[in-house]
């Protein structure tokens, strides 16, 4: 036995000292304060012409090559629609899942590197791929479902340049205002609730630099003097206004969420009562019996829209065309919409959505009138080149730098 009087007494002293030290530590624990400061690199981009704009397009789909390599968002190549495609076309599908738009851009470097055929790029990556020469135009006439698309997704500015279609639209969704029905008996009519001190510590917004566009969209309606016409094309002064609005919002924010599941748990535990969200969170919370709803406030909303884009060096173009034909059919569009929680581009998918999940067509606004979609400003890559021919807009890399400055 090691036990000795001195050991025990020394031990008692140690325990007491520890308790005291911890108590002192607890009472003086403090958190860092966010600090301002934004500077960033980001050189200007030269000449805005799509390198592949004049690449030849096929007039018909030839013999399939037996393989198809995709870069996709998780959930975009589910067995439910991949297996029938493989059976019908004989093209074996391999998928590389990407975690972010930039990862997609990196993977597609050098025209897909002769390895990848298609990428399910979101609007914030599209222009980078087009002007980087990584994707090439397709013959939209070879995609029969295209004529059934919502008109605004047939030739949207984020994937169609000068009449050339750099891919085919797939699915989309708005970034909505999610709120607790206990706190808000009627739907808030303005995004201003996210900047309202009344809800300090009960607000959550996505941890994503493109969120600055939400502030810009809000300012475009509430501060017309700034002259914001497009939330993705901001001059330095407009950008500064949006960033300082978000910095003012920072002390009110409980959490910048990274995963949809985090926002769901924040609302379930009633830690937050209002936030920016996707319809997916609303529907999941609603299905679990939580008293929440979402709305698109009067200023409109930002949103995402994904496009299947064809790699410049696609090794299996015929299988790729077959894929674009297949995934735009109403059935796959409906399956994808209900699986992921988004809205199909093909208007004929609505009744099939309801067949898979009752009421899902309404829930995801798949049958909403065109005026509804007009209220959504879809993500696109912020570029130095503004639409007005000037080059004084803030490019995306500076958005990322500023975002770190906002979230601290």
């Amino acid at each position: 036995m090691r036990r000795s009087g001195m050991w025990t007494r020394a031990g008692a002293i140690l325990a007491a000292a520890s308790a005291l030290a911890l108590a002192a530590g607890c009472s003086s624990s403090s958190s860092g304060t966010p600090s301002a400061g934004s500077s960033g690199g980001g050189g200007a981009t030269s000449g805005l012409t799509a390198p592949e704009a004049n690449a030849p397009v096929p007039s018909s789909v030839g013999k399939t090559e037996g393989k198809l390599n995709l870069i996709a968002w998780e959930g975009y190549a589910q067995p439910e629609w991949v297996k029938p495609y493989e059976a019908a076309t004989g093209c074996q599908v391999s998928v590389k899942y990407a975690g972010s738009s930039s990862e997609m851009v990196s993977l597609m470097a050098n025209g897909g590197g002769g390895q990848y055929d298609l990428v399910s790029a979101s609007g914030d990556a599209d222009l980078r791929l087009i002007y980087g020469g990584d994707v090439r135009p397709i013959n939209i006439g070879l995609i029969p479902s295209w004529k059934n698309f919502h008109p605004f997704l047939q030739s949207p500015p984020f994937n169609t340049i000068g009449g050339k279609h750099f891919g085919v639209s797939y699915e989309f969704g708005p970034n909505v205002l999610l709120y607790s029905k206990t706190t808000f008996p009627t739907a808030p009519s303005s995004w201003s609730v996210l900047y309202d001190k009344k809800y300090a510590g009960q607000i959550t917004v996505p941890d994503n630099p493109i969120q600055i566009a939400d502030a810009a969209l809000y300012l475009s309606k509430t501060k017309p003097s700034l002259g914001i016409t497009d939330p993705y094309e901001l001059t330095q002064s407009q950008f500064n206004a949006a960033v300082s609005l978000m910095k003012a919002e920072h002390p009110l924010v409980k959490k910048y969420w990274d995963l949809a599941s985090q926002e769901i748990s924040l609302f379930q535990s009633k830690t937050t009562v209002v936030g920016a969200a996707w319809p997916y969170q609303t529907n999941t919370l609603d299905a679990a019996g939580d008293k929440v709803a979402d709305t698109i406030p009067s200023q409109g909303a930002t949103g995402w829209a994904d496009t299947w884009m064809l790699a410049t060096k696609a090794p299996h173009p015929n299988c790729a065309y077959k894929w674009m034909q297949w995934v735009t059919t109403p059935k796959v569009q409906a399956q994808e919409a209900d699986y992921f929680g988004e809205t199909p581009a093909n208007q004929l998918a609505c009744p099939l959505m309801n067949k898979i999940q009752k009421g899902s067509c309404d829930a995801y606004h798949a049958n909403a009138p065109e005026s509804y979609f007009k209220t959504i400003s879809f993500w696109k890559t912020p570029l130095a080149q503004c639409g007005n021919g000037k080059s004084d807009c803030i490019p995306f890399q500076q958005w990322v730098t500023a975002w770190t400055g906002i979230t601290g």
């Binding site: 002293i13 030290a21 930039s102 959490k255 990322v400 770190t404």
Partner: protein, 306 residues
């Protein structure tokens, strides 16, 4: 017959002779022996470990085309200049500060615990305590962090328990306090084990001698136990400090609006922005901090008694 019986023998002799010659040569030249033995692991170390670090260091001096996300191999210090702006200095400060607070917390918690294990508990009790300390390491990191979210969040277990006790509710989920608690919990075993090792090695006679010379308990702790435990504690602190310094999952999961760590900014620069050079420049920061930390730890004798 004779021939066939001799032939193998000769061949074997020749072989043995050759082997003997090689081993004799190796015996005579110690440097050759050492080179041959060490070069495979050394080459591995150089190529896999150092080369990747050097590559990262070089990347930090490049930039990325903001438009196409491709690396531009032009030399620049812009990434490091950007590191020195207030935004990043505050993030680095928060990360280092949290690593330091967590290390001190774990040291304070571990000392009495390890002391009890090493010196007071019975043999059986010690085994039980050891299992209790190491058991959490068997569960997934993510699962343990998520468990703490449930405990700390609004209306969570902690708040519920305090309300039942009449102490009022707390809402410390998604704050830096929550991060401090979770980090301290997660890395505690890494502190307890080396401190336990250091305590166990102290001979009983030292304490008896201290007592015989008239020292009271507190004096014995201060002048005998603590100096002998310090190297073990510093060794443990290397784990708690470096593990906190490099973490980005706990800030992401339990942190609040002011919780960005160096790791989170690296992650967002790689993932969201695709800015590899700046991420590389940021990644050098914890390496530099750890180099100084390890140098300090060595001077405190952490590597002599691990």
């Amino acid at each position: 017959m004779a021939l066939t019986s001799i032939r193998p023998g000769r061949a074997a002799d020749g072989q043995a002779e050759g082997t003997a010659r090689v081993s004799a040569a190796l015996w005579r030249r110690a440097w050759l022996r050492a080179t041959l033995t060490l070069s495979p692991p050394l080459a591995w170390f150089l190529v896999i470990y150092l080369a990747s670090l050097v590559l990262m260091l070089i990347t930090a001096f490049w930039t990325v085309n903001p438009f196409t996300n491709t690396l531009e191999h032009t030399w620049t210090l812009a990434n490091f200049r950007q590191l020195l702006t207030a935004t990043y200095l505050s993030i680095i400060g928060r990360t280092v500060g949290m690593a330091a607070i967590v290390t001190v917390t774990d040291a304070i918690l571990a000392l009495p615990f390890a002391y009890y294990m090493a010196r007071i508990a019975s043999r059986r009790g010690r085994q039980l305590l050891f299992t209790a300390v190491l058991l959490p390491l068997w569960a997934s990191y993510i699962a343990r962090v998520y468990a703490w979210i449930v405990i700390l969040q609004k209306g969570g277990t902690l708040s519920w328990a305090l309300t039942k006790l009449g102490a009022g509710s707390v809402n410390i989920g998604y704050t830096n306090t929550a991060m401090w608690i979770v980090f301290s919990y997660i890395w505690l075993p890494f502190m307890i084990v080396p401190v336990y090792g250091a305590l166990e090695r102290i001979p009983d006679s030292f304490l008896e001698a201290s007592g015989d010379l008239g020292a009271r308990a507190w004096r014995t702790v201060r002048s005998v136990v603590l100096p002998l435990v310090l190297p073990g504690m510093v060794a443990g602190s290397i784990f708690t400090f470096s593990l906190t310094l490099g973490d980005f999952i706990t800030p992401l999961l339990v942190g609040g609006a002011n919780s960005n760590f160096i790791g989170n900014v690296i992650y967002s620069n790689l993932g969201t922005a695709g800015n590899l050079p700046f991420a590389a420049a940021l990644a050098i920061v914890p390496i530099v901090i750890m180099v100084f930390y390890l140098l300090g730890a060595r001077s405190l004798g952490a590597f002599e008694s691990v």
